[in-house]
């Protein structure tokens, strides 16, 4: 028996040997000499040379042939070297080494005719398909869509044997099938339809659509193509919907981050804090300041910004509670007005200190990019991080409220203030801490928002109406209600957007909530029992 490990080793050795065999005949000297032969007026010779270059397997072969095909290959007039110049003003590089050439001199273009150009396409593609970089191979495979003849399919099949990257394999199969479907025998066409029906690539769907409507195709092929198209389109529709759900969840988690602090200050304490949006803004500006302080560690700065934003916003929150709100308990409408004044004040403060213009916050590298699931569905990294972060914050808050002494006291004071005080809870201290907690969590939300929107003095204002509606919609005093409300409103918004446009979708969602609150003033999950009737 041969163990799987031994097989693996054998494969590696074989691959290395193969590479060595292919690469060996083309030393730098030979390759350079080979290129020199391109300096001729005879197209026949040029074509032979081009084929030899393609067969040489030299690392520069693909680059040289592409340049030749695109008319970017020149003969340097001073020493007769073959050089590449990608655009007229661009740098001149040596074709063999790829290194820039300092000395100036007039260049003479190596001309190619239409026949050569056509023949070189597949050759270049084949070379690029052998590249060690999977992205390069993928690009090469995609470049062959619609360019291949049925005769090239054997080459693709051979390549498929060696290919181990799933995306490249898919692209290669599609490339081969496109060629077969276009001009193969009926059996081949049917086989191609089957392959294309499994791929989610755009080109595959287009080809199927064309094949289904093409009069010259045999009836069986047309029918098969139509069926395959139907299946594949329903799959695409499914993934589209999945993507909408993802976008909706990401919008919902932004809403959640904006509203969750309010769920504490408004939901639990019953304080209408119109300056809540400004706590978000303070969190975002804290992120900006932290990044300014450590410009060389952008990736790390977010982790410093999180506690910093919590403390800054929390401190402002405690100050607001001690300075203004405590005089206004039991007068919700007055609280609303006073805190609105504070929000104006904070906005102007930020405008005066940081300028009224938007500040740019850099997104760290680990948050950019995206995860490609398949050709129609890819999840952007920053959205994923925001969703995860929102859930983390939510769980953290839930733990604080249900598992810590502070949470116990907060709930006690919210349910029955005088009774709580009678058993020794310092009501005033708990008020300040609760408000600080809500404000601090808004600050955390601000850090997240700074990664996806502009950081400016009006950042908070954009979220204040939304956050109140989320809290009211979910049911005041109910953290799970806030979570459900935020996520479902986010998804609803994104599902409306394709048909109505972004602005109208938002308007419709607002109208929906207004009507909903009229119908059920207590929100989705109303509080029950005595606490509700006393509120």
């Amino acid at each position: 028996m041969i163990s799987p490990k031994a097989v693996k080793v054998f494969h590696v050795v074989a691959a290395l040997l193969l590479c060595a065999l292919v690469a060996a005949p083309a030393g730098a000297e030979d390759f350079s000499d080979l290129l020199q032969e391109l300096d001729t007026r005879n197209f026949r010779t040029k074509m032979d040379v081009a084929e030899q270059i393609a067969d040489s397997g030299h690392p520069r072969a693909a680059a040289v042939l592409s340049a030749l095909k695109d008319g970017n290959l020149y003969v340097h007039q001073s020493d007769g070297r073959i050089v590449i110049q990608q655009d007229r003003q661009g740098p001149v590089v040596d074709a063999t080494s790829g290194k820039p050439i300092a000395e100036a001199g007039s260049l003479e273009k190596i001309r190619v005719n239409i026949l050569m150009r056509r023949q070189m396409g597949p050759a270049i593609a084949r070379l690029r398909l052998a590249s060690p970089d999977p992205e390069e191979r993928l690009a090469a495979a995609k470049a062959m869509y619609g360019e291949l003849a049925p005769d090239d399919v054997a080459m693709i099949r051979a390549r498929l044997e060696k290919e181990d990257n799933d995306r490249v394999r898919d692209a290669l199969r599609v490339a081969a099938s496109l060629a077969l479907l276009d001009s193969g025998e009926e059996a081949q066409q049917l086989e191609a339809v089957e392959v294309l029906g499994e791929s989610l690539q755009n080109e595959a769907r287009n080809a199927l659509r064309q094949a289904a409507g093409e009069e010259d195709n045999p009836a069986a092929v047309q029918e098969a193509a139509a069926t395959a198209l139907e299946t594949v389109e329903s799959r695409v529709a499914f993934y589209d919907r999945l993507e909408q759900v993802f976008f909706g969840l990401s919008l919902g988690s932004v809403l959640l981050l904006a509203a969750i602090g309010l769920a504490i200050t408004f939901g639990v304490m019953g304080v209408i804090n119109m300056a809540h949006g400004e706590f978000l803004m303070l969190g975002a500006y804290t992120t900006f300041v932290v990044q300014q302080l450590m410009p060389n560690h952008i990736g790390l700065s977010l982790f410093v910004a999180l506690p910093a934003a919590f403390l800054v916003a929390g401190a402002f929150g405690v100050a607001l509670e001690r300075g203004v709100i405590r005089f206004l308990y039991g007068r919700p409408l007055e609280t609303l007005l006073a805190t609105f004044g504070v929000s104006l004040f904070l906005q102007q403060l930020v405008r005066t200190v940081f300028s009224p213009l938007n500040r740019s916050v850099t997104t760290p590298e680990w948050m950019s990019g995206s995860i490609v699931i398949n050709p129609v569905l890819s999840l952007t990294m920053n959205r994923l991080v925001i969703i995860a972060f929102a859930l983390l914050v939510f769980i953290g808050l839930l733990l604080i409220m249900n598992r810590t002494t502070l949470g116990l006291k907060v709930r006690a004071v919210a349910q029955n203030r005088s009774m709580a005080r009678a058993v020794g809870v310092r009501g005033e201290w708990v008020d300040a801490m609760t408000f600080g907690l809500g404000a601090g969590i808004a600050g955390l939300g601000g850090v997240a928002l700074s990664q996806i929107t502009n950081v400016g003095p009006n950042l908070g204002q954009a979220y204040i109406v939304d956050s109140f509606l989320v809290v009211v919609f979910g049911g005041v005093g109910n953290l799970f209600g806030t979570l459900t409300a935020a996520l479902s409103l986010g998804v609803l918004n994104k599902f409306l957007e394709p048909t109505t446009g972004a602005v109208l979708a938002k308007v419709l969602v607002l109208v929906f909530i207004i009507l909903f609150i009229q119908k059920r003033p207590q929100g989705l999950f109303p509080q029950r029992g005595r606490a509700a009737s006393e509120g």
């Binding site: 007068r331 007055e334 609303l336 504070v342 405008r351 308007v507 607002l510 207004i514 009507l515």
Partner: protein, 384 residues
């Protein structure tokens, strides 16, 4: 439910014993002073504008007349908010929407009056519609070339919105802070909607470049004076109307709703109907204010719907003195005058000042300036 008791206004406590204007204003010293000041302003300002030479110290330039006219529109808006907030306990954060709707109705009339004098010279379509490549006038623009129809819409458009919103909200007993928040959401939603070009109200830019009203040039001094006079009269009439409503049996029920809604309901009054009624009247008054405002400033755009504008109105009322009507109007003029002065001297300072005003008034001056004066007077009387 915490019941709020606002120091009752002398006049509203007393039943109306006499008919006519003197009956409505019986015992309302503040209101009499207010109407007297309004009358004096209404006579003096045009007189000083027309009869004195531009160089003289007493001359009131037309610019100032228009500015004062603008303040009076704000005063009317503040009064409409006070009618619901001061007497019915409904804190509206969306009255800017009614104001803007009235303004848009007037703006649509003024747009249609431009005729062929627009940039594109289309006799029917306003410039922005030509620009958007619209073929014909949308149905909701029909009739706005007729003055009386437009004026009817100035009342009806805000009135209808107020009625529908109020009917939905009050019937399902949405009260207090919830109502404030959904009224804010209403104006926010309208703002977003009016920003869209497809709505057919000029999108971002709104309606502007007005030429004339009823055939008179809007830029002419005479027209501006006439608009100012119209604002004075509107404010005066609105005051008497509000006083009448507040003093009537209906108004007294409304005041009772403010102080103890559950009790009024259990006595057997249909609380929601009273609320909807007052709310709708208030919305119409706000619409009139908007309609007078637009020709004087020459533009109406969706930013009038912004929640910030609506909430600012509330602070005017709070500064002047909630539940007094004339105090609210005075607060509207005062705060806006302060804004004009401030932005001239120190533009950044105004937002600071406004923010501080919100806090100071709610924490230290819950009855506003009128309340402060009354307390002084009471103290003096008690002392003597």
């Amino acid at each position: 439910m915490t019941t709020e008791t606002v120091n009752s206004v002398a006049a509203s406590e007393r039943p109306v014993m006499r008919g006519g204007l003197s009956g409505i204003l019986y015992g309302d010293t503040g209101g009499k002073i207010f109407l007297g000041v309004l009358l004096a302003v209404g006579i003096l300002v045009p007189a000083l504008n027309l009869l004195t030479e531009p160089g003289s110290a007493l001359h009131v330039p037309t610019y100032t007349v228009t500015l004062l006219g603008k303040y009076l529109c704000f005063a009317l808006l503040a009064m409409s908010v006070d009618l619901v907030w001061g007497f019915c306990g409904i804190l509206s954060l969306g009255h800017g929407a009614f104001f803007a709707l009235g303004g848009y109705a007037m703006g649509m009339y003024l747009m249609r009056q431009i005729g062929t004098r627009g940039v594109y010279g289309d006799p029917v379509l306003p410039d922005f519609m030509v620009f958007l490549n619209w073929e014909s006038l949308p149905w909701y623009w029909y009739g706005f070339d007729i003055f009386w129809f437009a004026m009817l819409m100035v009342l009806l458009a805000p009135g209808m919105l107020g009625f529908v919103f109020g009917w939905l909200a009050f019937r399902s007993r949405v009260t207090g802070v919830y109502l404030s928040i959904i009224s804010q959401a209403m104006t926010y939603a309208l703002m977003l909607a009016f920003f869209r070009n497809e709505m057919g109200f000029g999108g971002n830019n709104g309606l502007t470049d007005f030429k004339d009203i009823l055939g008179y040039d809007l830029q002419a001094d005479g027209t501006r004076l006439a608009l100012f006079m119209a604002s004075v009269i509107a404010l005066g009439v609105a005051y008497v109307l509000c006083r009448f409503i507040v003093g009537s049996k209906l108004g007294r029920v409304v005041t009772a709703v403010r102080d103890a809604e559950p009790r009024v309901r259990s006595i057997g009054y249909r609380v929601d109907r009273y609320k909807v009624w007052v709310w709708t009247v208030s919305a119409m008054l706000a619409g009139v204010a908007g309609a007078l405002y637009v020709p004087q400033v020459g533009i109406i755009n969706p930013s009038e719907f912004s929640p910030l504008n609506s909430i600012e109105v509330v602070v005017w009322v709070a500064v002047g003195g909630r539940g007094t009507l004339f105090g609210a109007a005075g607060g509207g003029v005062l705060v806006n005058y302060a804004q004009t002065v401030f932005t001239g001297v120190w533009p950044e300072g105004w937002t600071f000042a406004l923010g501080a005003l919100f806090v100071v008034v709610t924490v230290f001056l819950p009855r506003g300036i009128v309340g402060l004066i009354r307390r002084r007077k009471d103290k003096k009387e008690a002392g003597s």
